[in-house]
């Protein structure tokens, strides 16, 4: 029974991601951009989930790792000839090297992990409110430094001229990698130990689990996934420091919270549902033709709707749309597995 559940736990998000990707092959190229963005969002939210969902500790800082990943992949994959125009003050070794698509993504994941590890070393001692504020501080510092330090990137400029290699296939593969890594992690010894600390930290400590150590593992891993997602992002569309800041933090946290922060299924569902709503509204802000008339929403509607949705979910159903459960299964079956899980 447990084995069957494990298969479903992986299969359901995978099927959803593949379905979204297949849907993307059927639609017009402008709609396809939304589908690709949805898949990149899945990667980011799954990265968030690996830490927040498993540890129960809040982080406002993950978009920093996305940003660092985007910076890494963007700077490395931009053709040497284009660099001086956009990044005139770039450090020499970055100016003269260019790495391919996959290579730059791998390095982005590595840099994301390294940055998360460095940040996590001191920060993983904190939890609750203190963790929330401290990780927010990380976001502020990262944003501030990326904005002004022109030796490592474009500063206030936008990453134009980066090869746009994140198509439907690459985004889907990225999302699937994130889902697979998250699944393997939460099924691993480490993942189970971290979830134990989430449920009852003192009890976990009492049986010898290092809360700090387990959180650091998850933080680093989610940093890697976030870095990868950042790389996918910068290969999808021209971004700048403002794109990878508060709005993205808000919307990805909203996705996680709305879907249900404590399950992989919830993370993926949240990312897909909110992205779908968000894409539709974004389109509607430009005017969209529906059977029965044209819908033309004023700009800003998106965040009003998503914000309302998020506040509502938090107030009415704090465990999220999926109630923080893994794949919806018959209740008795689920209960059996859950008791085993929490035991």
């Amino acid at each position: 029974m447990r084995h069957a559940h494990a298969v479903l736990e992986l299969l359901a998000p995978v099927v959803l991601v593949v379905a979204v990707a297949l849907f993307g092959t059927l639609v017009s190229s402008s709609t396809q951009t939304y589908v690709i963005t949805t898949l990149v969002n899945v990667s980011i939210v799954v990265a968030l989930y690996v830490f927040i969902g498993n540890s129960g500790v809040l982080s406002f800082g993950h978009v920093s790792f996305v940003a660092v990943g985007a910076w890494t992949a963007g700077v490395l994959s931009m053709p040497v000839a284009e660099k001086p125009a956009i990044m005139p003050n770039l450090a020499a070794f970055l100016r003269d090297t260019t790495v391919g698509n996959v290579g730059s993504l791998a390095i982005a994941a590595g840099v994301g992990a390294a940055y998360a590890l460095i940040v996590g070393l001191p920060l993983m001692r904190l939890s609750g409110l203190a963790a929330g504020i401290a990780t927010f501080g990380v976001l502020e510092i990262t944003h501030n430094v990326l904005r002004y330090w022109e030796k490592i990137g474009p500063g206030l400029n936008t990453f134009s001229a980066v090869p746009e290699t994140t198509g439907l296939g690459q985004a889907a593969v990225g999302a699937l990698i994130a889902v697979a890594v998250a699944f393997l992690y939460q099924r691993s010894r480490y993942g189970r130990m971290l979830r134990a600390t989430r449920e009852d930290a003192p009890a976990a400590r009492a049986v010898g689990v290092s809360v700090y150590g387990q959180r650091l593992v998850a933080f680093t891993l989610s940093g890697a996934l976030a870095g990868l997602a950042g790389g996918l992002y910068v290969h999808l569309l021209p971004v700048n420091a403002e794109v990878l800041y508060l709005d993205l933090t808000f919307i990805t946290l909203a996705m996680l919270v709305i879907g249900g922060a404590t399950s992989l299924w919830g993370a993926v569902v949240g990312a897909v549902v909110v992205s779908a709503v968000d894409s539709f509204l974004a389109e509607a802000e430009n005017g969209v033709h529906l059977p029965g008339g044209t819908l033309d929403l004023p700009s800003g509607t998106r965040i009003v709707v998503v914000g309302t949705l998020m506040a509502l979910v938090l107030i009415v159903r704090p465990a999220g749309l999926t109630a923080g459960r893994e794949v919806p299964l018959p209740r008795a079956f689920l209960r059996g597995v859950l008791t085993k899980f929490s035991a």
């Binding site: 920060l123 203190a130 929330g132 800003g300 009003v304 914000g307 998020m310």
Partner: protein, 305 residues
Amino acid sequence: MTFVATVLGADWQTLADAFGLGGIYALMAVGIGLVFGVLRLVNFAYGQLVMAGAYALAFAYERGWPVWVGIILCFAVVVTLAVAMDWVVFRPLRGHSPAVMLVATFAVAFLMQSIALLWFGPLGKIAASLSALNQPWTISGVDIRKISIVATAVAAGCLLALVLLLGRTRVGLHMRAAALDFQTARLLGVRANRVIGSAVLVSGLLAATVAVMLTVQSPLVTPDFALRDTILVLAGVVLGGMNRLISATLGGFAIGFASGFLGGALPTNQSQYLPSFLFAAVILVLLIRPRGLFARAGQQAVERV
């Protein structure tokens, strides 16, 4: 070296500005700290109350209404919103974990910001009815902008009134008791809703006051008005120590003073990294003294279990 030289060479105007900004931030810190005291809730959306007040002032200015009408409108709007926020968001969330409440107010902040965007557009409105306060006063040969002095004085006055309210009145005593031990306070007959309502009301009044003074300094009101200030104040409040109003206030003042002073005294190529240094300091304090810089030893940790 240039750093030291510039800082030491700072003129009186910079110093006065720093005091003014410190005072404004201290008021915001009190507004956030009061609500935290009784609800254990960090209100991320506090800056959006200030933003709403600023739009009210702009609204009045555009129509050429007298200053006092604008100020009354500002107070009415902000207090109404603060109370509504309490009813619609804080109350249903009572008893949730601090992290959930923080995320929820984060959502509310974005919500209010995008409502402002929808309603007023991204370009911003002007609220300049008090711009005369940007003129200098000459005090023994030194020119100082009036608003710096007014802001300092208003902040001092508000803080004094608050000390009297908390120290000398019944509701003030109840608020202090509720912040220390809400359950025991209720067992003694302290009415939870009234205490929370009072804290929300006072924090709304402070937000409106801040809105009036911030629009003098930056009359262009955009949807993200006061957002950066709120983030800094939150950092300052944590820096000082959330658990005591006085330490939260000091933290707010300190971060306002520091950012006003260093921002004014340093050349741009050095002051652009100021937020990084401020937040690095916040993280350092959280790690070394989780209860805050100004909190007394023996205080409870940031959260009550």
